[in-house]
Each structure stands twice: as C-alpha cells, then as structure tokens.
C-alpha cells in the first residue's frame, strides 16, 4: 500500500555505495549488540532485555532518515536499533535494562530520543504534541513515534492519529508490525489485518512496506519525512517484519508458536538478505563484512564494560529528581531515609 504523494528533493535521491555500507555496518552493530544483550541477561549482567532479532532493517532504516539537528524520536522499549542509528550513548541507553534508572541515563534533549517507555503507545500522543510545537514555533522538525501492532489497539493511538491529521502535525507514525504482541498474533490484534489501512479513515497517507528490506525502509521513511517537513501533515508507515525469538528475556515463545512456525513466519534474515544484495551489486566484499563484524564486536565489548562499571545511582536521586522544587514532606522523608540507611 502506498497512498503518499510522490515526494521531491533529497527524499528521492538514491543511496550512495558509502551509505549502503554504512547501513550494513549499523545493522551488524545492532544485531551483535542485541544478541549479546540476551547473553548478558543469561550471565546475570542485566536483569532483563527486550530483543529485536529480525527487526534490524526496520529500525536502522527508519532511524537513518532522522536528522538529529532538528527531528525528535519517541521510542517504546524495543528501539535499541533506532537509538544506535541516531547516535545515542549506548551505555546510557542500556542502563535502563540494567535496572539503573527507568528511561535510561542518556540526555533525551541532546540525543533527540525521548526516554525509554514501557507503556505501549505511551509516547504516540507526545509525538503529536512535540510536532505541533514545531508548527507553532515555525520550525521544520519532524517527530517520529514508534509503536507495535499490539500497541495500535490502544485508544491513545487513535486519538493521536486524529489529532495529528486535524492539526496537520509533522509526525511520522512508524509501526513495526512484527507479527506478535507477546503471545497474540497480529490477526487476533489488528482487525482488518493492517494498521496502515486505518490511516485512510483519518485522512492520513500511509505506506505499507517490506520492513526487512533496509533500503525500502530508508526510502519510505525519507519520503514520509519530506512530506511532513513540507507542511503536509502526518504519514503512517507500517513496516512488515517479524519478531524472532522471545518477546522479552522472561518470555517463553514455545508456548504460543513452534520453531517451524517461527522459521516460516520470519522469512529470510534481513541482515543476510542485505549482505547478498551488497555482494551482488559489488558494493561490498567479504573483507568489508569481516571488518564490520570486528567493529561491532569491539563496540559491544566497550558497551558491556561500560555497563558493568555502572554502579547504582545514589539513593538521594530518588528524592532529588521527583520535582524541580521539592516539598517539605519529601525532604523529611529523604532525611529520615539517610539517617536510617546510614545507621544500618
């Protein structure tokens, strides 16, 4: 499905060989970090993690269209690949999975990534508000909000689509339809089978794309950004992909699907697929792939060392960060806490 008018400008320009190689390097870095994070959880380095195996093309491709000098991204809890692509500090990002601080330790304003969010669809309306602020300020930033096929069931998503359309807010609604919401398959979650199809009812142009084809994702997202940036209002992209493996490190997918079903549903590995394409087009060779993997491994090691070195936050922050202006009751509780915990 493609109801987005053809866009002009840089959105239409084809990706250069250097950009294609960069996309591959990003995908390898994300894949390696993602699988490592699951291992960290098994090793007790982090208490939990939400894997994104198989969603690398959707995440890297969409994140690649973001201009961090003016745009803003509103993630949920599974957008590590987007975070990595737009250059967020990954130790600070992973700290949320280490249970150090809800939302992570990165600076949202500087990195252009809102705090990690556990409430599904929790940030979708925020994106609309931020985007409308751009309109009010006469700026050209675009908000991109991420949510899943499951989250599309939330009332907030429908309110956000309506608000954005009515206000012509520059928002890209990026849906990763990964086939599952924990144990519930898309057909039991999304009536009509397509989130993109719903956009028509709100007068919003939509694209339903192959979310496992990183180039297709970059192109679609760039078109959507160009459309929104030009003042034409929101766009919805539904990237069709597949969540391989468990929903989270505490999930057991064997209870709701078989390995055969997983293999059939997942299709070709997006990373392998892109690699074959780069090889066939002569854009990259084995030496490049090996180099990209080595870089990914080095990076993962650095991040792991970083989060292992990360201590707990001082308990005082629990009290200090509740308000800009604290209250007497909270100060009393903090003093009491300090006294009792020091005494012990």
């Amino acid at each position: 499905m493609d109801t987005l008018p053809v866009a002009s400008g840089d959105a239409a320009e084809p990706l250069t060989p250097a950009q294609l190689r960069e996309l591959y390097s990003l995908m390898v870095a994300v894949r390696h970090l993602d699988t490592s994070a699951i291992a960290w959880q098994r090793q007790g380095i982090i208490p939990g993690y939400a894997p994104e195996l198989g969603q690398e093309a959707a995440q890297v491709g969409s994140g690649y269209a973001v201009d961090t000098t003016r745009d803003f991204v509103f993630p949920t809890y599974r957008e590590m690949g987007v975070a990595r692509t737009i250059g967020v500090d990954m130790v600070a990002y992973m700290s949320t999975h280490k249970a150090t601080w809800h939302g992570g330790l990165y600076d949202p304003l500087e990195s252009r990534l809102a705090p990690i969010q556990a409430v599904v669809a929790g940030s979708v309306l925020h994106a609309v508000g931020w985007a409308h602020g751009q309109t009010l300020d006469g700026k050209d930033g675009v908000a991109m909000t991420y949510f899943g096929d499951g989250a599309s069931s939330q009332g907030d998503v429908h309110e956000a689509l309506n608000f954005a359309a009515v206000m012509k807010a520059p928002v890209v609604f990026f849906v990763q339809n990964n086939g599952w919401a924990i144990s519930v398959p898309t057909e039991r979650q999304v009536a009509g089978g397509s989130v993109a199809a719903r956009a028509a009812g709100y007068g919003i142009p939509a694209l339903r794309i192959d979310g496992d084809d990183v180039v297709a994702v970059v192109e679609a997202t760039r078109r959507a950004f160009a459309h929104a940036r030009a003042g034409n209002g929101p766009v919805l992209i539904e990237a069709m992909t597949y969540r391989r493996g468990p929903h989270s490190t505490s999930d057991d997918p064997g209870r709701y699907r078989s390995l055969d079903e997983e293999r059939d549903g997942a299709g070709v590995d997006p990373l392998e697929r892109f690699r074959q394409r780069l090889l066939a087009d002569g854009v990259a060779d084995e030496a490049f792939f090996a180099e990209a993997l080595a870089a990914a491994k080095a990076e993962e090691e650095q991040i792991r060392t970083g989060i292992q070195a990360l201590g707990s936050r001082p308990g005082t922050e629990m009290f200090d960060l509740v308000f800009q202006e604290t209250t007497p009751a909270l100060q009393a509780q903090a003093a009491n806490w300090r006294e009792e915990s020091e005494h012990v």
Binding site: K98, A99, H102, S153, R255, S312
Partner: protein, 354 residues
C-alpha cells in the same frame, strides 16, 4: 475480628453457596505456590459458575505472563478464557457490558501500572454502574492485578495502587499474603456481586505454602497471622511476610509482636484493628505505597478513633516514599525493609509523652 463486613451479599448472590466449602470434617491440605493456588481457584470458579469468564492480554494460550491462567483455556475453552487486543480501557469497558449481560467477568490487567489506561472505565463506569442503575445493573467484576514491587521489573511493572482504588466509592479491594489466602480470597472475591480489585503480590507468586482446600476460615475481614502482646504490625500483600520476619527477629529481643494481615483494604476491618490494638496498645502500619495520602493514614485514623484512650504512642507508618517507584537498583531502598520496620517499632516503643 469481624466476620460481618461483607455480610448480606451471600443472600443476593447464589453462586456463593455453591462455591462455599461444605464442611471442615476432612481437611485436605496441599502444598502449593501462590501461582498454583490462584490458578486452582480460577479453575474451580470457572467450573462452579458457567457465567464466569476470564480474559485479558496473553491469558489464553500463554496462560498469562505469570501463568496464573495456565491451562484454563485448554480446559474450559476459548469462550470462557480468551485473549483480547492490547487495550486496558477496552478490557475493563468490555467487562461492564459483559456484567450487564449477566456474566461474571474476571479480567486481568497484566501489570499494576497498566491499570492506569483503564482508570476511566474503572472509576467512572465499573464503580458507579450499580449506583447509577439503582441496583439493577450490578457489576460482579473481579479485576486481577499483579501488584506491588520487589522483582526488579521495568517501569510500571511494580506499583502500589491500593489507596487509589480504595478511595473510589463502589469498589472493594483485597490482597492475599500467602497461597492459602490467595486460594480462598480469590474464590470468594470471584463470587461477589460487586466489583472487587484483587491485588496479587507478584513477589510472592512462587512462594510455597500449605493450602487448606476444605476450610479457609472466614474470607472476610482481617486476620491475625501471629499473636503478640507488645505491638501490632498492620500489613497486607507482600509486606505481611516481611512483618512476620520482623516479628521473629524482635522476639529475640523479647518484644512480642502481633501481625495483622488486613486482607480487605476496602472495606477495612475496623473491629479487628481495634481488637488487636486494644490488646497491644501500640501499632505500626507497613506498606509499599508512598507515604502521603497512603492507606496507612486511613488505618492509623481508624485505630486512633477506636483506641485513643489505650494507645501508648501515636500510630507509626513505615512506607515507600513520595517518589515514583524506582528502578531495580534502588528498589530495596524504597520498599520497607526489615531495618526500617524495626526503626518504626523502636519509635513507637520509645515514645514518651511530652
């Protein structure tokens, strides 16, 4: 201790009689975890009441993320136990309609923090429909909420919403503290004609204990879990086990503590509170929720009202702080620990009239 708190309802609701244990002659006791006890209770509720239906996110095939509904869909069918789309307002709103149609909905909210998107339906609809319809549209809804913290979970996966729920007219609130309580309180709650918020302490799901399947005693009111003479610790849910630990430790110093499991957070068993504190003359309320406007204030006031003359010290509270529920690394600082409870006890024991 009062047995009459919820009295009168059994007359309105025929399924209670069917579900109630007949006699205590041959007590059958089994060791099980709270997860198993809850699962068994739901299984029996479904078997006893053809109008009972269970639904929510992932509670069908997966059996819920905590496996509380494990195997129930396979056994009772997809009409009785089913997955809904991922929308809490939808789940609770749908419960209203099902109740109007004569069903007994037993919805699940996957984690406490995700009750918030449904608050509108819970407060404005479920809690008021009986009143609004002048009693013609009762809302026999048992909302199961995995509650409280202690498992180093992500944000919104550990919250203490009891004061919020208890404050809403038209809702009843209960929380079990061990497998035996879980089994009997859920069976009872799920046969009530009024909406009951059933707060399951998720940090206790895997703790095992004896369940007396034949006789649970009275399912209403509070329950003394440990007798003592010097001070009453009032707690509910996960904090009961911690208070029992504290009582053991204090006993080594010759302090004899009574532990009262409040169980029903609404209606609160004021008579049981009074009876215990009249005996011990001192009380400390322990809860995980933030201090300000927490349920501890309500409990303290009820005690003050009935025991003002006998109290040896003001009622103390040991609670969470007025901060958003923190990340795993700071959770132990937030949840009342043994030391903080002991400090609370000390403050009461050493209180001198000024």
């Amino acid at each position: 201790m009062s047995n009459s708190i919820l009295e009168g309802e059994s007359a309105v609701h025929p399924t209670l009689a069917a579900g109630a244990p007949e006699s205590t002659a041959a007590a059958t006791t089994a060791v099980m975890s709270m997860q198993q006890a809850l699962n068994r209770a739901l299984d029996e509720v479904l078997a006893d009441n053809p109008k009972a239906v269970i639904f929510g996110e992932d509670c069908g095939r997966l059996g819920g993320v905590f496996r509380i509904t494990d195997g129930l869909q396979a056994k009772h069918g997809e009409q009785r136990v089913f997955d809904t789309p991922l929308a809490e307002s939808g789940i609770l709103g749908m419960s209203v309609g099902l109740a109007m149609a004569g069903f007994h909905p037993i919805p699940e909210v996957q984690f406490d923090g995700f009750a918030y998107p449904a608050i509108n339906q819970i407060v404005c609809q479920i809690a008021r429909m009986n009143y609004r319809s002048r009693g013609t549209m009762p809302m026999p809804i048992t909302l199961r909420v995995p509650s409280f913290g202690g498992i180093r979970a992500p944000e919104h996966h550990g919250e203490s919403l009891e004061a919020l729920f208890a404050h809403v007219p038209g809702l009843k609130v209960v929380s079990p503290s061990n497998p035996n309580e879980a089994y009997h309180l859920l069976k009872y709650a799920a046969t009530r004609p009024d909406p009951v918020i059933f707060m399951e302490p998720k940090s206790r799901y895997w703790q095992k204990g004896d369940v007396n399947l034949a006789d649970g005693g009275s399912p209403t009111g509070a329950k003394v879990m440990r007798e003592g003479r010097h001070l009453t610790l009032v707690a509910w849910g996960a904090m009961v086990a911690r208070c029992l630990q504290v009582a053991e430790l204090a006993a080594e110093d010759g302090i004899d503590i009574e532990v009262l499991d409040l169980r029903w957070l609404k209606p609160i068993d004021a008579e049981a509170l009074a009876a215990s504190v009249r005996k011990t003359r001192r009380a400390v309320v322990v809860h995980e929720a933030p201090l300000t406007s927490g349920l501890g204030a309500e409990v303290a006031q009820l005690i003050t009202q009935s025991c003002f003359d006998t109290l040896r010290a003001p009622v103390e509270r040991v609670t969470g702080f007025d901060v958003p529920y923190p990340s795993g690394d700071l959770e132990d600082e937030y949840i009342p620990n043994i030391d903080r409870i002991l400090f609370g006890i000390q403050r009461v024991l050493e209180y001198k009239r000024g």
